[in-house]
Structures are given as structure tokens and as C-alpha cells.
């Protein structure tokens, strides 16, 4: 299998996208990268401008010097040439043409072996100054006519002064044309009135080479300087960024619970002071947390001790009361009744003690989860089984309505069953209804178990109060029914310990619903519930009678 072109293109696209993302990520996250890159950009702009200006000045200086030398040399050449022409004799054997060729040769020979200029002679010029139709061009080398700009030709034709301009030294043949200065003037032949235009072309290839050299030197110096400045910026920002990064790492460790971590402080500058303040903050935090931990530990210890110290004598009392209770048939009626009261109140006392200790355990932060796979449907059936005789005595029917089969959550089975029992026994005891439903549903993240009754319901505002410790809807009425008043408070704590919710809904006369929502995976938090808190309909749908 070979990857198709499209795949390759896509891979390349994703790779470049990834590189772009990495770069923008670095830009966003790293102050150092931002400072270094910014410095480099600014530095290259400044160096570019400076270099350009410098190069311009050098070029102007070189060209000016070359031009003044060229014009002076040409001027001298013109004068010599005019004199030579004036002195020459034109005869049959020494034609005008030969005289002019000799002139060119003489001028060329004057410049020495290293010829610094080329010469062009055009003419004769016509009366109006233009190059006549029978005019010819003589030159020291194969120079293109285009090398002499038309503007210069015109200027020379108009008057007898010396003119100059810039051009390129274009030779026939495929050679590159260096920049050049061309200086020209009119020559007058002694015989007749024929005028010729004489041009000196001075190559500036030396100057061009010098300029190129300077430009290259400036460029490399600029690049080197940019990187140097970037390096300096990197070093300087590192001085600032390193302690900041160190502080970040230490802060992260502190947040992770390693409270003894501190920054290393050196010197007295701003960063050292930052470190000092940071360390003071960490120390103060550590102290507070230690105090809280100590407090929690002491409370937990106290609860544990109270628990142990109370439980042993109560066990003895319990056993004794049971022996008395079993033997009450042999007692006189008053003693027998006393034994019964002792027994029932001892039950209540035990339940209260157990609930108080449980609440204290929550308050001390000592409650721990025993995580297991728990099926809420299984729990519902077990709870119904457990309370079947109580429900029968109260004339209440218990049903489980499960949508979606078993709802398995990672939870502490003891606590979840305790919540379910609590909700069901409350519904049986306090609702005054003859029907109690346990609804179970789950989705991909959470599962819910709701206990619905169709009894007296809750007064407005009571749905929050029911979870308060020792809260009773009707103090006079409900104390007689037993219960510690801590059941729902403990259930709410149990639900919270699982990262779940326990909520209540109720309306007077329409019944109440208590809904427990748990995350499927231990450690998650519930964000929504698969069951509505307020029942959609007050009539049960497809209830399965147990």
C-alpha cells in the first residue's frame, strides 16, 4: 500500500499545521520567546534602515569622486585632441578618415596600458547638430551606439561646452555592462566646418565592486548583530523568566500538597523580594493547613475515643436489658413494663449514638469510601425485601420501576444501601401513602435512584430543610415515630462523598420524591441526572408490582 498523493498532501498539511500550532503555542506561553522574537524583528528593521542609508552615502561619495576625476581627465583629453586636430594636415595621402583614426589611437595610447576609458567619435554632425546621414562612428572598442544616451548627444550638438552623464558601458557581444560616466564635447576640423562629437566613457566597475563589497559586509554585520542582540535578549529575559518559572513550579508543587516546598531566595532585588513574599505566603498557608489538619485529626481521634469508650458500657447495658426483657414474664407488671421501656429506649439511644458518630466522622473528614461495583436495581430489591414486613404492617405496597435494566455504579455499597433504606423507610413511615415506588434509570455518565411516594408531600421550602440535622416537619407528631432526625443529613453527606446529589421535591397533597444521582465512575462529579426531580406525571407508568 502506497499513500496516495492526497494523503501525502494531507499529512504535509497537518504537519505544517502542527508546526504552526507549536509556534503559536510557544508565542503564547513563553515570554522569553516573545521578547527574543520581538527584539530580532525590531533589530533587523533598524539595522536594515541604517545599512541602506550608509550604503547610499558610500555610493554617492564613490560616484562623485569618480565623476570629477573623469570630467577633468576628459576635459584635458578634449583640449589635446582639438590641438592635435588643428595641427594635422589633411592631404591626399592623409585623408580625413585617417586623421580621425590616428586621433583615436593617440587618445587611447595616452591612457596607458591599463586603459581607464574608452573613446567614441561620432560625426560629422549635420548643420542642425544631429548626426548626419553620412556620419560614422569610430571607437576604441566595440561599443554599442546605445551606450551614449540621446540626451547627451542632443546637448553636445546644441553647443560646444563639455557635458557628462551616467550610462552603462555596453560593448557588443554578451558581456555585462558596468555602470559608467560618459563625457562628451564637440571637435571642429580645421578644414571646413565639419564638427565631430567626441565621447570619453569611464567604466565604474571598480566602484561597483567596492560598493558590492561594502554591501556584503554590511549585510553580514547586520545579520550577526541581529543574532547577537537576540542572544543578549535571551540571556536578559532568562534572568527574569527563570525565577518566575521556578516560582510557578514551586506553586504547582504546593498546590499538589507538598507544603514544605520553598523558593530559593538570593540577593535583594525585585525577584528576591518576590521569592520572599512567595515563601511567606507558602509558610502561612502551610501553618493554616497544618492547624486544620491537626484540628481534624483531634476531632477524629476524639470521636474514635468517645465511640470506643461509650460502646463498651452500652454493650453491657444492652445485654443486661435483653436478659431482663426476656425474663419480664416472671416480673410483676410494673417491673415488666420498665424492662420493656428500657429495651425500646435503648434501641433509640443506640440508633442516635450510631448516627451522631457517623455525622462526627463526616465533620472530621474521616469518612472514606469503599468503592465496589454496585447495581442500584439489586439494592432496590434488597431494600424492598428488607422492609417487606414493615410495609405490610403499614399497608404500603413497594414497587421498583427500572428503565434500562441494571444500573451499575462504582460506589460504596454500604453507604448507598443506607441511603436507599433511609429514603424507603421515610416514605413508608412519614408519607401516609399506600404506595411507594423506587425508580431507577441511568445514562452514559450517571445513574439515579428516586423514591416516590404519593402521600402528604412537602410544604414549600421544606425540600431544602429536610436535609438539616434534627429537622422535623412536625415536631409534636414525628418524635413518636422514632428515627433519629439525622438519617437524611447522613444520606446527603453520603451522596456528596460520592460526588453525587441527593435532592427532594414535594407538593402538599401530591406526594414527594427523593432523588439520588451518582456518577457511574468513582471520582467523577454528577452534572445531570437521568431522572427528573419533579415527576413528569403523578400517575405511575408501567409499574412492576413486586
Amino acid at each position: 500500500m502506497t499513500p496516495s498523493a492526497r494523503d501525502v498532501a494531507r499529512d504535509a498539511g497537518t504537519a505544517s499545521l502542527r508546526a504552526l500550532r507549536a509556534t503559536t503555542g510557544l508565542w503564547r506561553r513563553s515570554i522569553q520567546a516573545r521578547v527574543v522574537l520581538g527584539t530580532m524583528v525590531l533589530c533587523s528593521i533598524v539595522i536594515g534602515l541604517l545599512g541602506w542609508a550608509l550604503l547610499r552615502q558610500v555610493a554617492d561619495g564613490l560616484v562623485d569622486a569618480r565623476t570629477s576625476v573623469a570630467v577633468a581627465e576628459a576635459q584635458a583629453g578634449f583640449e589635446n585632441s582639438q590641438e592635435e586636430l588643428d595641427a594635422s594636415l589633411v592631404s591626399a595621402t592623409n585623408t580625413q578618415s585617417q586623421v580621425l583614426s590616428a586621433l583615436i589611437d593617440n587618445i587611447t595610447s595616452r591612457s596607458g596600458s591599463l586603459r581607464s576609458y574608452e573613446v567614441v567619435l561620432q560625426g560629422p554632425l549635420s548643420a542642425n547638430g544631429k548626426v548626419g546621414p553620412d556620419a560614422g562612428t569610430r571607437s576604441s572598442a566595440e561599443i554599442e551606439a546605445a551606450a551614449i544616451p540621446a540626451s547627451l548627444t542632443d546637448a553636445i550638438a546644441r553647443n560646444t561646452r563639455t557635458h557628462w552623464t551616467y550610462t552603462r558601458l555596453e560593448l557588443t557581444g554578451p558581456t555585462d555592462a558596468p555602470p559608467a560616466v560618459v563625457v562628451g564635447t564637440q571637435l571642429r576640423l580645421p578644414t571646413g566646418n565639419e564638427r565631430y562629437a567626441l565621447y570619453y566613457l569611464f567604466s565604474m566597475s571598480d566602484q561597483q565592486r567596492t560598493l558590492d563589497l561594502v554591501g556584503r559586509a554590511l549585510l553580514s554585520a547586520g545579520v550577526a548583530l541581529t543574532f547577537l542582540v537576540a542572544g543578549v535578549a535571551w540571556l536578559v529575559t532568562r534572568q527574569v523568566v527563570t525565577p518566575v518559572r521556578l516560582a510557578r513550579r514551586i506553586a504547582e508543587r504546593l498546590a499538589a500538597g507538598r507544603l514544605e516546598e520553598r523558593m530559593h531566595v538570593r540577593g535583594e532585588d525585585d525577584l528576591a523580594r518576590l521569592g520572599q513574599s512567595f515563601n511567606q505566603m507558602a509558610a502561612s498557608l502551610q501553618k493554616q493547613i497544618r492547624q486544620l489538619e491537626e484540628l481534624s485529626r483531634l476531632q477524629h481521634r476524639f470521636v474514635s475515643d468517645v465511640s470506643h469508650e461509650l460502646r463498651t458500657p452500652i454493650t453491657t447495658v444492652r445485654l443486661a436489658a435483653d436478659v431482663l426483657h426476656d425474663a419480664r414474664g416472671t416480673f410483676d407488671p410494673l417491673t415488666a413494663r420498665s424492662a420493656e421501656l428500657l429495651q425500646t429506649q435503648l434501641d433509640r439511644f443506640e440508633a442516635l449514638l450510631a448516627d451522631l458518630l457517623e455525622i462526627s466522622r463526616f465533620d472530621a473528614g474521616a469518612a472514606r469510601l469503599e468503592i465496589d461495583q454496585v447495581d442500584l436495581v439489586g439494592i432496590a430489591y434488597r431494600v424492598i425485601d428488607y422492609y417487606s414486613s414493615l410495609a405490610a404492617r403499614q399497608g404500603v405496597s413497594l414497587t421498583v420501576v427500572s428503565t434500562g435494566g441494571s444500573a451499575v455504579v462504582e460506589a460504596d455499597v454500604r453507604r448507598i444501601e443506607r441511603i436507599a433504606r433511609n429514603l424507603v423507610v421515610n416514605a413508608i413511615h412519614y408519607s401516609g401513602a399506600e404506595r411507594v415506588e423506587i425508580l431507577i434509570a441511568h445514562d452514559s455518565d450517571s445513574a439515579a435512584l428516586a423514591v416516590r411516594d404519593f402521600g402528604v408531600g412537602l410544604q414549600p421550602g421544606e425540600s431544602q430543610l429536610v436535609f438539616n440535622r434534627f429537622w422535623r416537619a412536625d415536631p409534636a407528631r414525628e418524635r413518636t415515630r422514632g428515627g433519629t432526625g439525622l438519617g437524611l443529613a447522613i444520606s446527603a453527606e453520603d451522596a456528596a462523598l460520592h460526588g453525587g446529589w441527593l435532592q427532594a421535591w414535594g407538593e402538599p397533597g401530591k406526594g414527594a420524591q427523593f432523588r439520588l444521582t451518582l456518577p457511574l465512575r468513582a471520582g467523577d462529579e454528577v452534572s445531570r441526572s437521568p431522572l427528573p426531580l419533579v415527576p413528569r406525571t403523578h400517575v405511575p407508568l408501567g409499574a412492576v408490582k413486586l
Binding site: S304, S307, H308, R311, T312, P313, I314, T315, T316, V317, R318, L319, A320, D322, V323, D326, E350, R361, A366, R368, E370, D372, Q373, D375, G378, R382, D385, Y386, V408, V413, R414, E417, R418
Partner: protein, 241 residues
């Protein structure tokens, strides 16, 4: 020197029930337990320190031990380890702490069951009776589970002729699984069938004892082959080799 009240005493010749050794430092509770147990037809002896517990155990030869976990001298966990080292006699812990860590540590030290104070006398007696069920009248039956052979009547387990020593509870647990190898047992069902609990939600008992059983019978307890975990449900017997 024994500080126990009846530590080295011979059982009263008049009573002929099962013998219970009560190890508890609280004298009132120990006496009350004696009264309750006698009422239920048990004989009992009391030992009130951890240091004397082992000698009391050796001399009294009880059928079951009731052991408080918080003892002066030597704590109940150590006593439990010592007794377990030389006997499989059922041990029921009496504990005032219901925190998981306390319960699990007690069970891991070798206790078969636990009762949290305060308990009702009937609850305690039910626990004792559940642990003293006998298989005297069991029909001759030989079961195999994995590479183990269980002789039900002889109450022993062998692997390739070599005996594997299990406590009676561990034997019951293994037997329960081996009798129905096709069935997956939930922890609740095991609590009911092995421990005699009904409506009990404390599955820590099962978890701890399955671990203990595995450490004795599995060749690699990390990847068990005889007592297999069925995730989200419970345990079942591995397929016979």
C-alpha cells in the same frame, strides 16, 4: 500468672455445651457475656489481657473465641495472629470501631467474623452458631475445583495428595463455590450461605476472606484460577483443570 477469672479452670462438669473463650478487658462486659452465653447453653471462660490470651486458649481448648480488639498488654490483632498460627478455631472479633480500616485489619489478621459494639445478644449468638455449624452428618462427597480435591466428610482439601490447611470458614467458602461451579455468587449470597447473614451489606468480610483463601490455594494469588472474580457481580469457581 493468669489474671483471668476462670482462665485455667476446667469447664464446669454440669454444663456440656460448646466452649467459648471470651477475651475482653472490660470485666462487666465479660461477666455479662458469660451470663448471656450460659443462658444460650454455652460454656465460657474469660481472659482479660492480651498477654494471657494464648495460654488461656491452649489450656481451655475452646470451640470458638470472642476477641476484643482493644486489649491491654497485647492487642487483639496480635492475639488473633497467634491463635491463627496454631489453630483454625473460629474467631469472632468484638470491636468498638466500625471504620473500614479497623475491620479489615482485624479480618486480615485471621478473624472469621466481627460484631460491632453495641450488639444485641441474639445477634452475637447467631454469629457464634453460624460459625459452629458442623458437617458431621455430611454425606461422603468428593469435589474437585481447579487442581484441588475437596473431601467434604473428611473436612480436608488436598492438592495432588498434599494437604492444604484451611480454616473451617475458608473451607466453607471454598465448598460453597465448588458445589455449584456453574453459578456466579454475589457477595450478598456468599454472606448469607457462608456467614449466615441475611440483609447484610458489609461485603468487606467476603473480600478479605476471598483474598485469604486465594493466598492459600492459588498458585498465583495475583491471577487467581480457582476463585475467579466476575467483575461487577461476585465470584465463581474456576473451571476444573
Amino acid at each position: 500468672m493468669s489474671t483471668s477469672m476462670e482462665g485455667n479452670a476446667e469447664p464446669a462438669p454440669t454444663s456440656g455445651g460448646d466452649r467459648v473463650l471470651v477475651v475482653d478487658d472490660d470485666r462487666a462486659l465479660a461477666e455479662m457475656l458469660t451470663i448471656v452465653l450460659r443462658g444460650e447453653g454455652f460454656q465460657s471462660s474469660v481472659c482479660s489481657t492480651g498477654t494471657d490470651a494464648l495460654s488461656a486458649f491452649r489450656s481451655y481448648k475452646p470451640d470458638i473465641v470472642l476477641l476484643d480488639l482493644m486489649l491491654p498488654g497485647k492487642n487483639g490483632i496480635d492475639v488473633c495472629h497467634e491463635i491463627r498460627a496454631e489453630s483454625g478455631v473460629p474467631i469472632v472479633m468484638l470491636t468498638a470501631k466500625s471504620d473500614t480500616i479497623d475491620v479489615v485489619v482485624g479480618l486480615e489478621s485471621g478473624a472469621d467474623d466481627y460484631v460491632i459494639k453495641p450488639f444485641k445478644p441474639k445477634e452475637l449468638v447467631a454469629r457464634i452458631r453460624a460459625r459452629m455449624r458442623t458437617y458431621e452428618d455430611a454425606p461422603p462427597e468428593v469435589l474437585t475445583i481447579g487442581d484441588l480435591t475437596i473431601n467434604v466428610a473428611g473436612h480436608n482439601v488436598t492438592r495432588a495428595g498434599e494437604p492444604v490447611f484451611l480454616t473451617p470458614l475458608e473451607f466453607d467458602l471454598l465448598l460453597c463455590l465448588a458445589r455449584k461451579p456453574w453459578q456466579v455468587f454475589t457477595r450478598e449470597i456468599l454472606l448469607e450461605q457462608v456467614w449466615g447473614y441475611r440483609h447484610a451489606a458489609d461485603t468487606r468480610l467476603v473480600n478479605v476472606h476471598v483474598q485469604r483463601l486465594r493466598s492459600k490455594i492459588e498458585s498465583d494469588p495475583e491471577s487467581p484460577e480457582i476463585v475467579v472474580t466476575v467483575r461487577g457481580v461476585g465470584y465463581k469457581a474456576g473451571t476444573p483443570a
